[in-house]
Symmetry: C2
Amino acid sequence: MQIKIANASQQRYICIMQSSDERFERFCADIKTVGLRMTEQRKVILRVLADASDHPDANELYHRAHAIDGNVSLSTVYRTLRLLEEKGAIQRHAFDEGRARFENADTEHHDHLIDIDTNKVIEFRSEKIEQLQAEIAAELGYDIVRHKLELYCRKRN
Amino acid sequence: MQIKIANASQQRYICIMQSSDERFERFCADIKTVGLRMTEQRKVILRVLADASDHPDANELYHRAHAIDGNVSLSTVYRTLRLLEEKGAIQRHAFDEGRARFENADTEHHDHLIDIDTNKVIEFRSEKIEQLQAEIAAELGYDIVRHKLELYCRKRN
DNA sequence: ATGCTAATGCGAACTATTTGCATTTGTCAA
DNA sequence: TTGACAAATGCAAATAGTTCGCATTAGCAT
C-alpha cells in the first residue's frame, strides 16, 4: 500500500492507491469470495487490469490480454469487465467518444481532464468542488449517488 | 426573448432563453444562411426541436416529428441533428445510458442533475464551480474547451 | 478421479448511428 | 413558369460497441 500526495498546496489530488500486485490479489479475492471460479483467462485479464495505469477500452484490454494468452476472447473480456464493475472493483467511464473506458477503482474519487488533441487523461480532485456539488444537490432535494466532472481541454500555447 | 432568473439567492440558474418560436426562426435562419435548403421534413424537425423543453434522444425526436408528418424518416432526424449540432444550435449529451440526448443551445451554459430513478434532468449552474474548474485547468497548463458536470442523484427521503 | 455447474469461444443478435444509392424536391436562373 | 441541377430524402445495408445463446470446456468440491 502506498500513499501518494501530489499538489498538496492545493488540497487536491490525494490518492491512496494499491500496487499493481495488491490490486491483482484483491481482484482475485473478489472473485473467490462470491464462489466464482478463477480461470486461466480471468487470471490474465485481472493481471492486465491491475497493471493498467491508463484508461483503456475493452478492445485495448482484449489485445493486451490476448497477447499474453491467446485463449482470451473478447467476450470474456467484456464479461469480466462487467463482473468487476458490478463488484465495484473497476470503474466505467463514457468519455465523449462512444466506447467505454475503464480504470481501477482503488483510488479515491477523482475527476478527469481530457486532452482533446491527444486523448490523454489527467486525474484531479478538488475538495471545494465536491462540497459545492453536494450543496447544490441538497438544495434541489437530492442526494448524489455518483457524479462526473470532465474537462475537455487543450494545452496552453 | 425572455429572461428567467431562478434561485437568485444562490447566484445560480440564470438563463437567457428564447421562446420556442424564436428558436424555430433561428434554426431556419441557420439553415438558410449557409445555402442549405428548407425542406418539409426539416421544418417539422426544427419545430419539434424548438418546442422541446426536455432532453429527448434521436428516437424520441423521430417519433414526435413522424407523428406530425409521416414523411420524416429516422435518417433525416439523425442528419438534421448532426447539422444543428455542428452549427452549435443544439447540444448533444451522453448521459450514462448509451444513446445521445439533445437540448437547445440557446440557454447559457449549465450543468445537469439526473434523477437516476426517473431519468428526469434538472439544469443548474454554479459560478463558483465554473471558476474553480478554470483554475484547475489553468494550473495543469490547459484551457477548457468544453466541460461536463453531471450529478446522478436520488430524491431525498 | 468424478461430476456438477460455471465459464468459455464462437458467431449471431442487438442498439445506436452512419452511409450508399437511386429517387425526389428545393431553388435559382432564364 | 418552367427546367435543370445539386441537395436532401428514404430505404436498406453497413458499422461500432457490446451482449447473448448455446454447445463445449474446465474449475473445484467431494
